[in-house]
């Protein structure tokens, strides 16, 4: 008959912290040992009675105490269903919860006030019903998942991979049907974890549960023809700890777990004769061992600390004593303490610096750094090769890619611009929501289009704008973007070398069509009309241009730039029509909107020249040249389209990515 013997080992570091490294010379090791003669605990032993070796080196035992170490119990219950089973009535939630409450209550009766308990449940997932809790504060059990697949091995591994406070013992007590259908770790891994665990590991097998299921299945197949599952048809694997009845032999998995449990000082409990073990019965027995055990303390001597420590404990005074000890414990090599964040360099240059700065939300530093970057193409290249620096949040990656692409798009180097465009194309594919265009993608496109318009990438912008319109046909800004980009591309065509169609650039008709489409969208119609008017003016159709500018008159425009440009272009068209006084009035109106603006001053200068007032014109020219600072003139950024919205678009992207 196997005599229950219990040994547990606890490593106590000088700082008494479970996850701190073992330190040679300052570390005490605590081992709790149960010594029995037959069914009786042997009492009254002293330090001189024990012989303890650590990695083969005999250690001096500093003290021996009666076993009063508080206990942490992790109870693991199996709530999984019968995947692959045939017709059955699923258990009712209330019944499952009630049964669980009773089971916990039974365990609690055995525990003392200083002990603690954690409850884990096996089902499709590893469930922590409640974390390690004082026995006086156990929360009520309300919600549990049950009747699913079995993640038995995963749950056991999770139970065994719990840190243990040095001053406490950890017992893992698992009740299971012995079937695993879904775990990612295997029995070997659980055994390996158990062997290196500080916990005492008991597995209680409920063989009858499996027998009943098998019997029902056989009956249903034989007598009502239901041989196949009626629900839950996915059983990725079917691993068992015991074979079916009547033998109920341990499978290789079961043998592995049994050996591992044995090495921790626990056991795998199977039915003996007709009596199936119970969770509380097993725990009661294990707990009695705790109450009658010894706690040995020694200071490690003459043994290198890191690595696996094999322990042997003997009591030589009687051969009848059974002393089985846990075979060892693991001391991890020291690791450096958490590093303090390194300060960012004054000038960001390397990709990792930009990434770190972005992660810390130092957006301004990133923008400034990228604008001054010597080789944006190298940064883009590094970024492409390195993968997503924010794997849990691809939206940050997208926002950062856009910052990086902006630096590339404004480059004078064609290869860099091409690399930036490719980066944007790739990211556009990646941020696509699997089901539908979402808010983030909408803002993404807007930010991309404002950047590309700003970089005057007309032809490419037309392509992206069309993509954006496919995804968001109702977005006014994308319709306008296509028109602006067509205009940009048309303006950039090589003069009179080949026909417009041959260059692959939009012709005048394409631009008109795009603007006409934008005119039909009320949100962007005023801007489209002003831009269209200027296009018509440039293509020598002043009357039509005037009509469009007149159509905007009287409309309230919040955008100062648009108000200004309307007046400026009105001046240009009127001047073209030689309506000089009206043109002067329009330019003056523009100056009133943006005082000191240069383009309107030049307009006035032109009207004076047309009137023959060369002196007046020269005076304005001198004034323009003489002024050190001038306000931002909307005309200067006219060709950059909606780039004026870029800062807001980027701010929104950064906000949405958090």
């Amino acid at each position: 008959m196997t005599r229950p013997v219990l040994v547990a080992v606890v490593v106590v570091t000088s700082l008494l912290h479970a996850q701190q490294p073992f330190r040679t010379g300052a570390d005490a090791v605590v081992v709790d040992v149960s010594v029995r003669e037959g069914d009786t605990a042997v009492r009254g032993l002293t330090a001189d009675d024990f012989v303890l070796t650590d990695n083969g080196v005999r250690q001096r035992i500093d003290s021996v105490e009666a076993g009063t170490v508080p206990v942490d119990v992790t109870v693991v219950v199996d709530l999984s269903g019968q995947p692959g089973g045939t017709w059955s009535t699923p258990p009712r939630r209330a019944a499952v919860v009630s049964e669980l409450r009773d089971e916990v209550a039974d365990v609690l009766k055995i525990l003392r006030r200083e002990d603690r308990i954690r409850l884990l449940a096996v089902d499709t997932s590893v469930q922590q019903i409640f974390p390690m809790t004082s026995v006086t504060e156990v929360p009520p059990i309300e919600r549990v998942e049950f009747d699913g697949m079995s993640s038995l091995y995963d749950t056991l591994a999770a139970a065994l991979l719990q840190p243990v406070e040095p001053s406490r013992r950890h017992v893992v007590l698992a009740r299971t049907k012995g079937v695993d259908t879904l775990s990612v770790v295997n029995a070997g891994a659980v055994a390996s974890v158990a062997q290196q665990s500080d916990a005492l590991f008991h597995v209680v097998l409920m063989e009858s549960a499996g027998d009943t299921a098998d019997a029902v299945k056989m009956f249903q197949c034989q007598f009502i023809g239901l041989c196949l599952p009626t629900r839950r048809f996915w059983v990725p694997q079917h691993r068992r700890l015991v074979t079916g009845r009547p033998a109920h032999d341990l499978t290789p998995d079961g043998q592995m777990l049994a050996r591992a449990a044995d090495e921790t000082g626990g056991a795998l409990h199977k039915t003996k004769v007709l009596f199936e073990p119970t969770l509380t019965g097993t725990f009661k027995k294990a707990f009695e061992d705790f109450r009658s055990s010894y706690v040995l303390r020694y200071t490690l001597q003459d043994v290198a600390a890191p690595g696996w420590h094999r322990i042997e404990v003997r009591v030589p005074k009687s051969k009848k004593y059974v002393v089985r000890s846990r075979r060892g414990y693991l001391v991890e090599p020291a690791t450096s303490s958490a590093a303090t964040p390194t300060p960012l360099p004054a000038t960001l240059e390397r990709l990792e610096d930009f990434v770190t700065a972005y992660d810390r939300r130092a957006f301004r530093d990133v923008v400034v750094g990228l604008r001054g970057a010597k080789s944006p193409i190298d940064l883009i290249d590094d970024f492409e090769k390195g993968g997503n620096p924010w794997p849990a949040n691809p939206k940050i990656e997208a926002a950062f890619a856009l910052e990086l692409a902006e630096a590339g798009l404004f480059s004078t180097n064609a290869s860099t611009r091409e690399a930036a465009r490719k980066l944007l194309d790739r990211t556009t594919r990646l941020i696509r929501h699997p089901l539908e265009p979402d808010t983030f993608e909408r803002y993404w496109y807007f930010a991309v289009l404002t950047t590309m318009e700003g970089a005057m990438q007309g032809r490419e912008t037309v392509r992206v704008a069309k993509q954006a319109m496919d995804r968001y046909p109702d977005e006014p800004r994308f319709v306008l973007s296509r028109a602006i980009a067509s205009d940009q591309a048309h303006a950039s065509r090589p003069p009179s070398r080949s026909t417009e169609r041959e260059t692959g650039l939009p012709d005048a008709l394409d631009v008109e069509t795009a603007y006409e489409a934008a005119l039909k969208v009320p949100d962007v119609a005023p801007e489209a009309r002003i831009r269209y008017a200027y296009f018509l003016h440039r293509t020598n159709r002043p009357t039509a241009a005037l009509q469009h500018l007149a159509a905007v008159e009287g409309q309230h425009l919040n955008d100062v730039d648009l108000r200004y440009l309307r007046q400026l272009f009105l001046g240009h068209v009127l001047l073209h029509l030689r309506r000089v006084d009206e043109a002067t009035a329009a330019y003056k109106e523009a100056q009133a909107i943006v005082p000191g603006s240069q383009s309107s001053a030049v307009g006035i200068m032109n009207t004076l020249i047309m009137k023959g007032d060369r002196e007046g014109a020269e005076a304005i020219a001198e004034a323009i040249q003489g002024e050190a600072t001038r306000p931002l003139d909307p005309w200067w950024s006219y060709w950059q389209g909606q780039y004026r919205f870029h800062p807001q678009a980027m701010a929104r992207m950064r906000e949405l990515s958090r």
């Binding site: 997932s125 990612v184 974890v193 009502i224 239901l226 009626t230 839950r232 048809f233 699997p434």
Partner: protein, 362 residues
């Protein structure tokens, strides 16, 4: 003898001791609740239900009258309500009972083919689908309903509902059925209505993944370049090839990172790659792959535990413990992509049902 047992069983089910919805309230009342936006109340009632046959019966009997109650003006919206309610009911009941494939008694030398009987949940989906199919041209909201139906069907884990008998040719003992007319083949109804929706094309592959891997592989390969589902198709193709061609599987799974940022897909690709590498003994690479998966869906159990076990095996117990401790502390735990691998689009269910409900309230 068998017929007697079957009769007893059927009678037993009919008179079942469960609390049925019929006893507490009628489906019409639940439809009224659902239509008025009291969604949680209706769904709560469904979750306490054991008799989904009764719900189906009531819907078939009273549903048309309820839909027509407001005349032509309210018909479209009430139809959507009824169909969405049917979908919710199917989802609530699908893990109770989905279908029977019954082996028939042998007649001397002849073994009759198995018979398929759909239980209530798939029939509830089909009932809702029929409502939509009356319109020759699908309404935009039907796309969302059909995506919802697909999500519920995936969660049932039964490919037969989507594409028919995947055991064809396997014989009676392999589960092949004889009453083909009872097949629903849901995708056959949906694909022609939404020829542009690649998720329904992807479903053709996913439904064949377990039983007809060659057909599934063909479907996945055809979708590799699709911007919407290409990443997932490549991930599933990689997963499918893990045993047959680990090298090709590894390459495919590695490619996924360049194709999508869908965390579910990225996670699974990295997780499967970790498993492949671990099997090949490339422990460091496996560790990196698992870390990547955990980074994609923090605290997801499968990769966290695989990584923790690997670290513990390598003597790095403290980090392993920390990972597991943090994993268990997260409440509610994140949806684990591996545990929902065959449930596929069920991950979109919250978004889909929110969309359908919003349309009902609109």
């Amino acid at each position: 003898m068998r017929r007697l047992l079957l009769a007893c069983l059927v009678a037993g089910i009919a008179a079942g001791g469960h609390s049925t919805i019929a006893r507490s309230t009628s489906v019409q009342t639940l439809l009224d609740d659902y239509h008025a936006g009291r969604f949680a109340r209706a769904v709560d009632q469904l979750s306490q239900t054991a008799d989904f046959d009764d719900i189906l019966q009531q819907l078939r009997r009273d549903g048309p009258r309820w839909i027509d109650a407001e005349g032509a003006a309210g018909r479209a919206k009430r139809e959507l309500t009824a169909a969405t309610f049917a979908l919710e009911a199917a989802r609530a009941g699908e893990w109770q009972e989905w279908k029977w494939i019954q082996r028939q008694p042998r007649m001397e030398e002849y073994q009759p083919p198995n018979l398929l009987y759909w239980r209530a949940p798939p029939l509830l989906i089909e009932w809702g689908c029929e409502l939509f199919r009356r319109d020759a041209t699908p309404r935009p909201i039907e796309r969302w309903w059909q995506l919802g139906a697909l999500a519920v069907a995936y969660r049932s884990e039964d490919p037969q509902f989507l594409v028919g008998d995947t055991n064809r040719g396997e014989g009676v003992f392999g589960g092949e059925i004889g009453n083909e007319k009872s097949e629903i083949k849901h995708l056959d109804h949906v694909r022609p209505r939404f020829p542009e929706e690649m998720r329904f094309v992807l479903a053709e592959g996913i439904a064949r993944d377990r039983d007809l891997p060659d057909d599934a592989a063909t479907a996945y390969e055809a979708l590799e370049r699709d911007p919407a589902v290409g990443g997932e198709a490549v991930m599933r193709l990689g997963a499918l090839l893990r045993r047959r061609n680990p090298a090709a599987a590894h390459d495919l799974l590695e490619r996924v990172d360049t194709m999508t940022r869908d965390p579910y897909v990225v996670y699974l690709a990295r997780f499967f790659r970790g498993q492949l590498l671990q099997q090949q003994g490339r422990v460091k690479d496996a560790e990196a792959a698992y870390r990547g998966a955990v980074a994609a869906v923090p605290h997801a159990q499968s990769a966290t535990l695989a990584l923790a076990a690997l670290l513990a095996g390598d003597g790095r117990r403290a980090e392993a413990q920390r990972l597991v401790q943090q994993m268990l502390a997260v409440s509610p735990p994140p949806r684990d992509p591996w545990r929902g691998f065959v449930h596929a689009d069920d991950r979109f269910w919250p978004q889909i049902v929110a969309r359908l409900r919003a349309e009902i309230l609109r």
